[in-house]
Structures are given as structure tokens and as C-alpha cells.
Subunit: 585 residues, 2 copies
């Protein structure tokens, strides 16, 4: 095998003239480079290893960037980036961080959208196809979507519309029989049957939705893929090309444990063991899972619902097994998770829905209509809703706070430490009255044995954690400790600020606010954008009072790969920054 | 035919002993009563006339309310209400308004949820079924969903999960080959094939999703329905019962023009002509449709996108024909409409997406991720976003303002009259830079030839429509006129208030706000809830200034069948109320 010089590949044009042998060598060289980078740097392991051949075949056959490819979720696009002018970011450790983990139009014209939430690629591509038709263009439009992403409602909406385009529209379904964890949903039996029958099974979701259909048995075999893509290139109607790939291909430990290697921190290439210590400190997800698992044993109708990210909420494979039928993973389908919770509560079960902040926004209508309007007693636990959450622009976790707390009748609690989180969770699990959202604090788990625990969190009840005068510092959730530290700074300067833990951000404790109405200054801090948030409610409440109000929080901006500490400094969300502000106010 | 005494029917138990003949007579009597009420009172005509037989058969066969039926969208439940203790509301004109137009748990234990948005019934019912299984129950759980609602993503998510329940779960698909308007989507060819083959066609969406499947050719034939429902009663696995009904059955004009009679104001039973004058004043939807239709002829890549409510945005069948391929109805699929718009814009088309306020909230994630994060130049026109919108608790239109304006980079414009609306629309159609939301004012169309028109609305630029001092009245959108009237009241009392049209609500015009920072009082008014809205941004901005701020708007509450005038009085959103507030401030 003549080794391939990866650095010579600057654009896809460089691989269009390659023969089969060269393409295979290219795949081998790319896999080797990817394994090196992934093991040293971490990232989405399984999705990228599985898609090397398909992405090579796509760029080999189609005339990108004139032909347009939209990658769903786009965490599988490392091979695409390697072929489109960004090879160095995968071969030279000094440049590993030059690229983001998702497609990004600011990096390359070959990247059409910045996207990281799943299931939207078919819809986005359908718009490209319709635009092409309006303008009389002739390019191919291709959406690449994984089987795991198919369970999201917008994917179905996109397929349903896309099938009616009547013109060139190619949907490549990358089926590796996995979501992040195992798949859940009725469509997966159908996909399995298609795989087992080489695409000939009678019940075919894609044909039933109006698509032409083709199947590639070995989605990691470049000649098969090239032949198939050539056969559908310039096709004059919508077609699904269903390819069966192997997630994690080429890394035995990832082929064997697909969930563990969906995403991984740096690891030893030989053993698959992560370099970082395995005795990581307990996270809120562990606290959550352990408490509800224990409670499940006493309450058979307690049920945890998640949408395709079980590990991220502490439900490892072992804990899922332990929970049995009291754990439901609906697949990537947040709308289903939230609406189903309404039905569960109405039916007398006790649903606890755990979701990541960035994804729960897909279920806004269900929070509003099915949960709040129907006032169903379900508990929602929001993970990664914080500046300390995921820092990719596609996965930000600081918009949920205003989003949920402006829905009528939804009680949004903001615990500040593990004792308060667990107390609120226990209270909400056991109450049968109302919908409750509990927003997990950001950052490392924090213990505060002095925090005031209530028997009932249903009425607004701000806790004065430090008595004081003239100045009140109200720190919601994550930022109560910063307010406590600020108070210490100020106390050393002879001031005597009050510090308040509001406990909740959806309804004001007007009695408490009235009692401090003659203060000089109230400062609020929240772990979310200021616009539409908690602090602005207080500013509005005090609008005709003499007390000055300063709202601290994040700016209404999409940040990308930010450094949380720097962002907090810029927003004056540090004890020093807040103290300076008080002194100069 | 022995006539049926409808008033004797108090609960479904009263129809369980009836024989076929009696059930048919019951259907005839119910249809007669419904036609009388619908023609005199208005309401959802077609959906209810089509479902009389199926609802009779359901309550005849199943042991409601122990067996549980969830009706999707629930505007087809008049027959259900007639059979469940609310007959008088359909036979006695004095009681016509005793019931709402949707299922409502406060009315009856037979109504499980308050719901009016489509596509969620399968998800809700899946929760009921799972709760039953956790509790060891044995009742039947039935979801009833129309073909039009199937295109919504949450319906697919619900089917995908529901298929995996492994226990009793019955989904009745009421297929009348219509949404509100005609259906759009690839699934509808498949449904048609199933109808044409008596349910035997090879490509079967429901089987492909993992359901058992049954078909009823005549969904308005009680014996067929009763036989089928008996055959699936107590079934031990998920099954779809696909029934073919006729929308509008029994009213020839409604059978012939299904779109017109989906919902109707009072009409003449014989001719189908509405009683109200047909030369209704021009609405914003007409202004919108006429302007974009004219522009389409000059700009072939201009395309209007809607999600299943074309008539509500002015695109009558005639105008849809005129627009041709430049009008896209994606079916009930708001996520698709918004994500597709991102693809359209990226592909060089000029998308104008028109949606109703209450439904657009289903696409929050697409507004955030696909549109705003990707900064695509699409125009969104929001209809019925107002206290003067739809007044059913399930269709409220006063939550969108904060929802959209707190998304980064989304410019939300609030025109105050037709001249400003059309100017903003024209500007946005022609700009290629950024995503823009234009919120149609509430109430009757208003003309104001003095309003200041801009060439470019991209930068915050508040318009001072009345010069003044000490007091500023900022009225967004619908409420600018109220502020102008307030100013006249106050002027007559010797005060000299400034009146401001902010033009937009997503970004503050800080130069303007700074210029009036030494005023005594600023009052804001917006046509939406105060929480998370425009006024609170101003209160926060002025938090450390001496100027007092009063935010006016709606309370964060679900209202039901409210009287807008009364609500405005309660919220002090009348010129008198505002003037009194100024005087006493």
C-alpha cells in the first residue's frame, strides 16, 4: 500500500480522480489520523469512525460544494472537514483546536449550517432543494441523517414534506443501529428488518412516506457506496439511500461498546481506558439517579423519562437495568417526553422527566399546552442549564430559564447546592398538585449544610441567607455562592448587604421584596440571559419604587466555545465585579 | 323511525344497550341537532359532522370513562360532549355557550385534557397507557387523531414510542382526506392507497412504525365501526384502526367545500351562505397576501411558507392558485416551516413564513437554531399575536412576543397600522441580511398616514410620535393608539406626555432611552404578557436611574373565552386607565 499524503488533500476535487484502491488507502489513512486525534484530544468517536467511507464516497461522487450536503447533528463530520480544506486540524496536534466539532459556515463554504441539535437536516435540505427549483438550478441536494436522529419529530416533518418535492432530493440514512445509547421506537424494528432483508422487507417507512428507496448492505465499503451514489446522482425525484454502517469502526473497543464511545474524553488507544481518573467526583446526575432509583423501589408508579441522553442524566446502562420498566427512554423525541409526562401524571403515575437544557426547548409547546395549561403534576429536572454547561454555540444552556419561567403556572425552582436540589426533588416527586421544574445548578457539586430546607416549595418564599441592610444581593441557583462571597467582600469594607436565595424564579415573593423596598440597591444574578429572566421581573416590580436595581446575567448572544470564567468576568458576575458595582452605584 | 329523545341521554351508559337501529336513529337526531346549532351559532362544522358515528360507536363499545379516549385537537368532540352529560348545550339555544369548543376536564370527567393544538393525542395517550401498566390496570387507552394532524412531528414521536408499549394501545386514525385545507405531505399518498385498497396496500406507514393495523372502509357506518371497535377492545398490543370518514357529512355544502366548512360563522342551513355580510372589511391577512402576491410576480424566488392554515394568512384557494409554486403549505408542521425557511434563505430564495402566534411556539428550537444562530434572512409574519386574537385557552396569542424577542439576533418588529406593516414587510422581503419577525397588530385594520416610514428597520429607532416632557408613553404595536389617546386625555389636564412608537421590541433604542432618562415616568404597553416582554427590558435598563417605570401588558395567565375589553380594563390597558395611573403616580 502506497501511503497517502493527507496533507496533499486540499479540496474534494483532490479525491475525485482517485481509483478504488486509492480511496481505500485514503480511508485507512484518515482513520489512523482520526484515531490518533480522538484518543489524544477526545471528541465524537463512534459517529466519525463509522462515516469515513460514506463521506469519502459522497465527496468523490458529488460535485461539492455546488452539490449541497447537509449533515444532521453534524458531530460526524470530522472526515468531511478533513476533505474540505481542514486536514491539518486532524493531523497536527498543534492545530487540533482549529475546528469546531460541528459543521460551521464560518469555517468553510462546504459547511452549510451551524447545527448540533438533531433531526433538522432533512428540513434544511428541503429548503435548499425548493430554493434550487425556484431558481432553476440543477445541483444535487443531499441530507445525511442517522437512524438515531430519525425519531425526532422534525425529521418526520422534513421527510413528509421532502417526499413531495418532485425533484432531485437525496436523503442518506446512516443506520448504525444506535442513537447515543440504544435506539427506542417502533421504527427501529422496521429498520432492522430492512437491514436483515437487504432492503426488501415489506414494511418500509420511507416508501410509506412517499420516497423512492435504495439500500447499501455494507455502508463502510467504498465501492458499494460509490456505485450507489453514482446511481442516484442527478436523480429527478426524492430518494432515500439507506446505508448500514458500523459505529466506531476500526476501534475494537468502540465497536464493542458503542454507547461509551459515542463521545469520549482522551483515552488509551489500545485499552480504550480514559486517561483521566475514573474516580471522578460525584455529579448532580449521579445524585439525581441515585435518589430517584431509591425512591422507585418504594413507589412503583414513579417513572423517569428521558429523550435519548440517558447517560447525561445519570442513567448509565446499569442503572437503567435496575430501574427496569420505571425508566423510559423515548429516543430523541423531547416533545414526546414532555407530552407523555402529562399523560403519565393524568393516569396517576409520577413522572420525573430529565432533559438537557439545550434540547428541552424543542418541547416548548408541550410544556405550555400539555403540562402547564393542563396543570399536571410532573417533575422536570433540567441538566446543563448553566454558563457551566456545554459551550458549543449549538448546545448552549442559558436560554431555558426565561423560556420556562414565563409559562403560566410552571413553577421553576433554582436549587443552589446538593442538599437543596435533593430536597426540592424529593418534595416534587411526592406532591400531586402541580408541574415543577428543577434546574440543576451549574458547575461542580456544592454542599451547603446551612441552606434552609422547606417541606413545601409551592409558595414563593425567598430565604434570607445573610441578614443585612440597605443593599440586597439576590443570587438565583448557581450564583448564590458568588453573592455570599460578594457580601463578605463588602462587609470587609464596612457595608452590610443582605443575601437572598430566591429558591424559585417564576413567581416573585412580593412580601419579601416589599420588605426591602426602601433599600438603596438590589442586585440580582441568574445563570441565564438577562432578557426575559428573573432579574427583569424584579426590576419591573420595583419600577415605581426608589430602590435601584441592577440585573446581572448573561448577554442575549450565541457564544461559541467560550471560556466560562472569562464570560463571567465580562458580565461582572464575579464577587469582585459585583462588589465594585455596589461600591460605585 | 321512532324519534330519539336526546335529552334522555345523560351518560354513555345510556347508549350501550342500544341496538344498531337505535344507534342509527341517535346519529340522525344528533346530526340534526348539530346542524341546527352549527348554523345558528357557528363552530367547527366539518370535523364534527364527520365524527358523529365514530364517536357513538366508541362510547357504545368502550367502557368510558374507565376506558380512556384522548381526542387530538379536540375540535371534533361536539358529539362526544352530547353523549357525556352535556346534551343541553347542543339542543337548547339558551345553553349553546355552556360548553367550550374543545375537550375540557373542568367540564367533564370524560374530557381528559384541555387541548386544541394538534398532533399531541398519541403522546398524551401513550402516557396514560404507560401509567396504567405501571399501576397494573386493564382499561383500554384510545387516541383519536385525524389525518391532517398526522403531519405534526409530535404525532410521529408519539406513534414511534406508542408502538413499543407492548400492551393495549389503540390509535384511531380518522382519515377524511383533509386537513383544515387540503393535505400536503408524502404520507397522504400512502393513506390514499390504503383507502383505495381497503387497507391492504403494501406501503403502510403504521405497520412500518411497528403497529398492528385494521381498516374500516366506511367510517360513517355504525355497524362496521362497532364490529371493529369490539374486535380491538382489550387488545394486548398497539394497533391502529384506520377509518375513512366524510368531513361535513350530512350537510351537502360542507361535503362539497370542506375547507370553507372546516369552521364557519353562523350560516343558512339551506344555502350554506354565512349570515354575516360577505363584504367584510379588509383584514391584515388580505393586505399581507395581496402585497406578497404582487411582489412574487417581480421576484420569482420569493416564496410564502405556511403550516396548514393558509386561509388564516389570506391565502385563499384562489390566491394559492395564483401563487403557484411560490406558495408552500407544509401541512401542520411548524418545525418544518421554520427550518425549511432557513434552507430556502441559504439557497438564495426569499422565504416569507406566515404563522399563527399560538402555533409558532412549536418551532421555538428552529427559530433559535436554524434561523437565528445561522442568521438566515427569512421573514416571519405572525398573525393573531394579540389579546384580540383567538380567545380559547388553547389558542392564546400573547406569549409569542417574549418568546421570540429573547432569542439572540432575531429582530422583532411591531407595526402599529397597515402603512407601517406593509412598509416593514416590503423592507424585510427585500433585505438579504438577517432574520426578521413582523408581528401583525391586533384588532381591526387601522390606517395612520402620519406614521413614520423607514427605508431600513434593522437598527433600533424609536419614533417620537408626540413630543412632550416629563412623561413618556411607549406603546408597542397594537397599543400605540391607546397611548396616543392617553396623551390627549393628559394634555387636557395640563400635562405634556411624549408618545413613542418603539417599532421593535427585541433590541432597545438606548439613545432614545438615554435622552429621556431624566423624565419622571415612563409607561410601556405591549400586546402580550409582561413577563419576559419588552417593558421589562426597559425597566431593567432604567433600573439604576431615577425615572419611574410602569410596565403594562397582560398577566402571565391562561385565559379562557375571555372578553378582550374586560381584560384590558383589568390590566389598566385603556386610555382612561393609563391616564389615571399617570396622574396618581
Amino acid at each position: 500500500m502506497k501511503s497517502i499524503d493527507l496533507s496533499a488533500i486540499k479540496t474534494p476535487a483532490d479525491i475525485r480522480r482517485m481509483d478504488e484502491k486509492q480511496l481505500k488507502d485514503l480511508a485507512a489513512a484518515m482513520r489512523k489520523a482520526l484515531l490518533e486525534k480522538l484518543s489524544a484530544h477526545g471528541g465524537h468517536v463512534g459517529p466519525n469512525l463509522g462515516m469515513i467511507e460514506a463521506i469519502i464516497a459522497l465527496h468523490h461522487v458529488f460535485n461539492t460544494p455546488e452539490d449541497k450536503i447537509v449533515f444532521d447533528v453534524s458531530h460526524q463530520t470530522y472526515p468531511h472537514k478533513m476533505l474540505t480544506g481542514r486536514m491539518q486540524a486532524f493531523t497536527d496536534p498543534a492545530h487540533y483546536d482549529d475546528v469546531t466539532g460541528y459543521t460551521n459556515p464560518q469555517e468553510s463554504d462546504y459547511d452549510l449550517f451551524s447545527l448540533g441539535h438533531t433531526s433538522s437536516a432533512v428540513s434544511l435540505a428541503s429548503g435548499l432543494a425548493k430554493a434550487r427549483d425556484l431558481k432553476g438550478g440543477r445541483e444535487n441536494v443531499i441530507a445525511v441523517i442517522g437512524d438515531g436522529s430519525l425519531s425526532g419529530g422534525v425529521a418526520f416533518e422534513g421527510l413528509d414534506y421532502g417526499a413531495t418535492l418532485g425533484t432531485n432530493f437525496i436523503v442518506v440514512v446512516n443506520d448504525n443501529d444506535m442513537s447515543i445509547a440504544e435506539n427506542h421506537g417502533g421504527i427501529y424494528d422496521g429498520l432492522r428488518l430492512l437491514r436483515e432483508t437487504d432492503g426488501t422487507a415489506e414494511y418500509n417507512l420511507f416508501r410509506a412516506m412517499g420516497f423512492d428507496y435504495r439500500y447499501v448492505h455494507n455502508g463502510n465499503d467504498i465501492p458499494s457506496l460509490v456505485d450507489m451514489f453514482r446511481s442516484v446522482k442527478d436523480i429527478n425525484h426524492p430518494v432515500v439511500v439507506h446505508i448500514n454502517t458500523m459505529k466506531g469502526m476500526g476501534l475494537p473497543v468502540a465497536e464493542a461498546d458503542k454507547e461509551k464511545f459515542h463521545f469520549s474524553a482522551p483515552f488509551d488507544l489500545k485499552t480504550g481506558e480514559p486517561y483521566s481518573s475514573s474516580d471522578a467526583p460525584e455529579g448532580y446526575e449521579d445524585l439525581f439517579a441515585n435518589q430517584v432509583l431509591a425512591r422507585m423501589k418504594e413507589v412503583p408508579e414513579l417513572v423517569v423519562v428521558n429523550a435519548g441522553t440517558p447517560d447525561a442524566i445519570g442513567f448509565t446502562p446499569e442503572r437503567r437495568k435496575e430501574a427496569g420498566c420505571q425508566f423510559v427512554d423515548v429516543g430523541i423525541a423531547e416533545q414526546q417526553a414532555v407530552a407523555m409526562a402529562s399523560g403519565l401524571a393524568k393516569g396517576g403515575a409520577r413522572p420525573v422527566v430529565a432533559l438537557a437544557s439545550t434540547f428541552l426547548q424543542r418541547a416548548y409547546d408541550q410544556f405550555s399546552q400539555d403540562i402547564a395549561l393542563n396543570y399536571q403534576p410532573a417533575t422536570f429536572v433540567v441538566f446543563y442549564g448553566s454558563i457551566f454547561g456545554i459551550n458549543d454555540e449549538t448546545h448552549l444552556g442559558f436560554f431555558d430559564l426565561g423560556l420556562l419561567s414565563n409559562i403560566p403556572d410552571l413553577l421553576v425552582l433554582t436549587p443552589t447546592c446538593k442538599e437543596e436540589f435533593l430536597a426540592m426533588l424529593r418534595w416534587s416527586e411526592d406532591q400531586h398538585k402541580r408541574p415543577v421544574v428543577i434546574r440543576v445548578p451549574g458547575g461542580a457539586v456544592r454542599s451547603d449544610s446551612n441552606i434552609g430546607i422547606l417541606d413545601d416549595y409551592s409558595c414563593p418564599s425567598y430565604e434570607i441567607v445573610r441578614k443585612g441592610s440597605r443593599i440586597a444581593l439576590i443570587g438565583a441557583g448557581t450564583f448564590l455562592p458568588a453573592m455570599q462571597q460578594t457580601a463578605e467582600h463588602l462587609a470587609s469594607k464596612g457595608l452590610d448587604p443582605m443575601v437572598i436565595n430566591p429558591r424559585e424564579v417564576s413567581v416573585l415573593d412580593t412580601a419579601c421584596l416589599d420588605a426591602i423596598k426602601d433599600f438603596d440597591l438590589v442586585i440580582t444574578a441568574e445563570d441565564g440571559i438577562i432578557d426575559g429572566g428573573f432579574g427583569q421581573k424584579i426590576a419591573s416590580y420595583y419600577g415605581d419604587a426608589a430602590v435601584k436595581v441592577i440585573n446581572l446575567g448573561l448577554q442575549k448572544k450565541f457564544l461559541n466555545r467560550y471560556n466560562a470564567v472569562e464570560v463571567l468576568k465580562e458580565c461582572n458576575l464575579t464577587p469582585d465585579g459585583i462588589a465594585d458595582m455596589v461600591v460605585s452605584a
